[in-house]
Amino acid sequence: MDYVIQQVLNAASIGGEYALLALGLAIVFSVMGLVNFAHGELITISGFTMYAIFIFAAPTSAWGLLPVGIIAAIAAAVVFERVAFRPVRNAPATTGLLTAFGLSIVVKNFFVSVVGATRPRAVPTPDWLSSHIEIGAVHIQTLQLLEAAVTAVALMALLALLRGTNIGLAMRAAAKDFNTVRLMGIRANQVVLAAFVISGLLAGLAAVFIMARRGAVDPFMGFTPVLKAFVAAVLGGFGSLGGAVVGGLALGAAEVLFQIILPESIAGYRDAFVFLFVGGVLILRPQGLFGRKHQFGDKEG
């Protein structure tokens, strides 16, 4: 029983991390039609900012690094929007895609050549994060528990924002009909900014957890998680917010499941099996679990 609970928590924490990242991708995509390939760089920037604070400010406790990591990701997302994406906002979608690619390359190379981070740098995390707690017979890692809980809280807060605030409603409306949102006198820049702030916040939360798990930063640390998040977003239906969450959790569950059922000899091919599973789902539902066939079907009367 405790084994099952542990594995479920395992799936929830990995899946939660994918969900946070996939949701950030989905929110930016739904509002702007932009596939943000530079999303992983938010994680890298967040990680290196925590690293820099650790090196230069030498805090006595690693606690203070966590908010710094989150704020750095938000700030980076805002800067990306302002500097890179705003100038191409009204350009064809491929232009935005290439801009994101370029941005991703520039940021990675900044850390490789300017910062000179050619190998991973260690960053300490609060001890209690890697500690375990006992609930009855169940042995639970604090980090995982926290990750699942924070993901749940973040999702609920986001849901409340999207349902109960003007900016949240405007973001949902802008996903289909940005011009009409502007006809309400709502500033396009604010709606886009909100989307990036949220995607940065979610990436920052994920970055803190990724850091806590790895205990080190390197210029490519954002790549794999965001690759998985893309898979999760596609699995859920790209652009659908609910789909991003379900896709993330489903991907996390699939990973844990294959980890358990695959025999030792082929366990190394876990991800291949996971992607095979995702491919199978997409053959049955090409638009993803929650995707709609007409993402932009608002032009009819």
Binding site: L169, T180, R182, L183, M184, G185
Partner: protein
Amino acid sequence: MLVIDQLSVSYGAIKAVREVSLRVEKGEIVALLGPNGAGKTSLISAIIGLVPASGGRVVLDGVDITRRRTEDIVRLGATVTPEGRHIFADLSVGQNLRLGAATRRDRDGIAADTERMLAMFPILRERFASRAQTLSGGEQQQLAIARSMMSRPKLLMLDEPSLGLAPKLVEQIFGLITELRTQGLTLLVVEQNAYDALAMADRAYIMNSGRLQFSGRSEELLASDDLMELYLGTGTGVHAGAAS
């Protein structure tokens, strides 16, 4: 209230609006008529800043708004109920109205205006919590107009408010437009229903192929079969079948 001077709109090589000048005075209902593709929607879109003007000027209450952003123009008191309604399909009726008032901070005023709209369009009260997508076409048009009114515009531009509506509803919408004017609103109404539009409007402009072809008082047009024939086709309205 609104002065348009030599306004042009181009989409690449297509010249959709060619040096059109017109004015709308405070408290007027002005009809903008013309066949499909005449450039009516393009003209309205340029006024509200959704498409750039390639030449000319738009002045609202003495302020040059030609290169302003849509959201700023709306904040100055003009708005458009777009062709094809464009209600926010995924949001509820109430949330649509709420976004209509997004620029306002006076909670009490917003509540009062919401109540006023619900009194004017009882169906919206009935369907207040439903997703807007589930409304019928006519109900969506009512929602679109009510949503526009929530920003308390001084100038409301309606782009084909009767499009696709049954005759009875058309009558109702036009009655409403007349009522809105008595409340101090200024209206520019794009219409295919030439007869009905002229019956309610003070003045009319007729566009064709991007150019202004006629401007004058509504009675003048209505009284002359020749003019109606010349500018609006058969003399039975441009698309008499559109509403049925």
